[in-house]
Amino acid sequence: MNVPQGTAASAAADTKPAQPITLQEAAEFIWLEADLLDTQDYTAWLALWTAAGRYVIPIERSGDDHADRLNVVYDDRLMREARVQRLRSGLSISASPSARTVRTISRFRVLGEQAGGTRLRCAQHLVEYKYDRTRTLAADVSYRLVRADAAAGGCIALDEKVVRLINSDDALFGMGYLL
């Protein structure tokens, strides 16, 4: 599988549908992303995204109109970059060090094509550990993956990721890592 080098092209630029993304390709991509997040290789993680990509962790589990509601995270490219810079800066006491995380993603289901991309939904179980405490966070995660055209290497990129925590509307806790 091809891993994008640098920020991939925007989905909006893909006018004609590229070759569909298979379940196997999608799973490999999402597992790669999970590994980059657990190992906190955030620079490589940023490179998985399209320029117009949106990273969202809503508070309300239903609905898609995230822009007009309060979210935990509602990041465009600039906010993602600022977030990564903060986590890597050494200036944040919650991230230096953060809790350790181990996450597993499965229950992949392809939901269909949308806006030139492939929509999937899957389940994520994350375990975090810090200060003699181990906690779990479960989430339904939906993705929109796009494939750049063949001239750009045909690599897959992340155009939208929405993490719906099982307890998103209840009391959470400070997180110095990414979901």
């Binding site: 007009d68 935990v72 800066s89 200060y131 806790f173």
Partner: protein, 426 residues
């Protein structure tokens, strides 16, 4: 303060093994003018006494009026550890009801908020209206003739409101909310100016817990000293102009003790009155928003809205559980001696321009919440206080910093702990 709190039972000091109750504590000795004793963070018996002597004994914030705008609207909240329902009845009046069926104690509502005309206990079906009146009892024939539904309403607390802030009290006999807020009212009025004439609307909230005593959080809202230290990573994420705005120690701010444990901390003096300085240039970070608003609104209204979007330049801390903090409400809920829940409620302009309200939500997300650029570092700092307080049981927590007109003075904390001492020794 000689009466027992309504619908509260004094906490028994008797131990389970039949030994005599412990002697009353000398709480006053644990608070000095410039320091408080470490036991205030770690002693479970002090926490129990606080629930009784403070949270069941004064005005506790439960809602903003915009959360229950219409008759039938309700939300659930807590007064200390007691779950309550805040309702707006058919006549528009607000009621705060203990969320406990008068039959066998089942909770009658488990929704965060909603709209209804009735609360039904799921266990045996007793039903209550929005005022707490017991409406129906299934198979009522099983009770004897003396049974009167009028004897078993949901327990109702006293309710008063100021500037849209709704408070409840378990005490029928304490001073009015107006008198309790006193000098803080002026600052609450100034804070609400960020409604830009539309009025303030509660627009979602971040909720999180940290392992630490509630007073660590209470202190934090009047602590400018930590800001450039704990929030360096937030500050470096800002453009240069905005970073100067958040130079909270460098703008001639101050802290003022407002009495009754309340205080105000002015960090950005230019943003005390959002209806002044409307001729100032639009900051670069809001220029795109101003341009968008200018297509629909006259220039003076654009300036007023844009200035309001940036929020107030101060925190007003109301003892014991609410602060109006720059652009949001900070609500604290004591859970245990070493666990506290915080709600950071985002605020928008009620019916205001969607673009301006989106900007406010994005600003809130930037700093607040479990993954904001500020809150996780605050929470980490507070947990470190609780972990550190496990050492040195005979040591004191120092609150001796600063002079009266210094923004990083610990004046607000000293005021809050003097109120704590008064209430705990009453």
């Amino acid at each position: 303060m000689s009466l027992q709190p309504m619908s509260q039972h004094p906490i028994s000091r008797e131990s389970g093994d039949g030994s005599p109750p412990a002697l009353p504590r000398d709480y006053a000795a644990l608070v000095r003018d410039d320091r408080v004793h470490t036991s205030l963070y770690v002693d479970p018996s002090i926490f129990e006494a606080e629930m009784d002597k403070i949270f069941a004994n004064t005005w506790v914030w439960v809602a903003h009026a915009s959360e229950i705008p219409q008759p039938g609207n309700f939300k659930t909240a807590h007064v200390g550890r007691q779950p309550v329902i805040v309702t707006r009845a058919a006549d528009g009046r607000v009621h705060v009801l203990l969320n406990r069926c008068r039959h066998r104690a089942g909770s009658v509502c488990e929704q965060r908020q909603g709209k209804t005309s009735v609360f039904v206990c799921p266990y045996h079906g007793w039903s209550y209206d929005l005022t707490g009146r017991l409406r129906g009892v299934p198979h009522a024939g099983g009770y004897d003739a003396s049974f009167d539904k009028g004897d078993f309403p949901l327990v109702s607390l006293r309710v008063e409101e100021y500037a849209g802030l709704i408070f409840a009290s378990s005490r029928p006999d304490i001073q009015t909310l107006d008198a309790y807020l006193g000098r803080a009212k002026k600052w609450l009025d100034l804070f609400m100016k960020q409604g830009a004439g539309y009025g303030i609307k509660a627009a979602g909230a971040h909720r999180f817990r940290f392992r630490g005593n509630w007073k660590i959080q209470l202190e934090n809202t009047t602590d400018a000293y930590h800001f450039p230290i704990v929030h360096r990573s937030f500050l470096t994420s800002l453009d240069d102009e905005t970073e100067k705005v958040f130079d909270v120690l460098g703008q001639g701010g101050f802290v003022e003790d407002l009495g009754n444990g309340h205080s105000v901390m002015v960090m950005i003096p230019d943003r005390v009155d959002l209806e002044q300085n409307l001729d100032a240039p639009i900051p670069e970070r809001f220029q795109a928003l101003a341009d968008e608003l200018a297509r629909e609104y006259p220039p003076e209204q654009v300036r007023r809205i844009v200035r309001a979007v940036g929020g107030s330049g101060f925190n007003v801390n109301i003892f014991p559980n609410i602060a109006c903090s720059m652009a949001f409400f900070r609500v604290l809920r004591p859970v245990a001696v070493d666990e506290t829940e915080i709600i950071h409620m985002a605020l928008t302009m009620d019916g205001g321009p969607a673009a301006a309200n989106r900007a406010r939500l994005r600003l809130h997300e930037h700093f607040q919440g479990p993954m904001g650029f500020g809150t996780p570092d605050d929470a980490e700092g507070w947990e470190r206080v609780q972990r550190g307080a496990a050492a040195g049981a005979d040591l004191w927590v120092m609150l001796n910093r600063g002079k009266e007109r210094d923004v990083s003075a610990e004046t607000g904390m000293r005021g809050a702990y003097q109120m704590w001492r008064r209430m705990m020794s009453a």
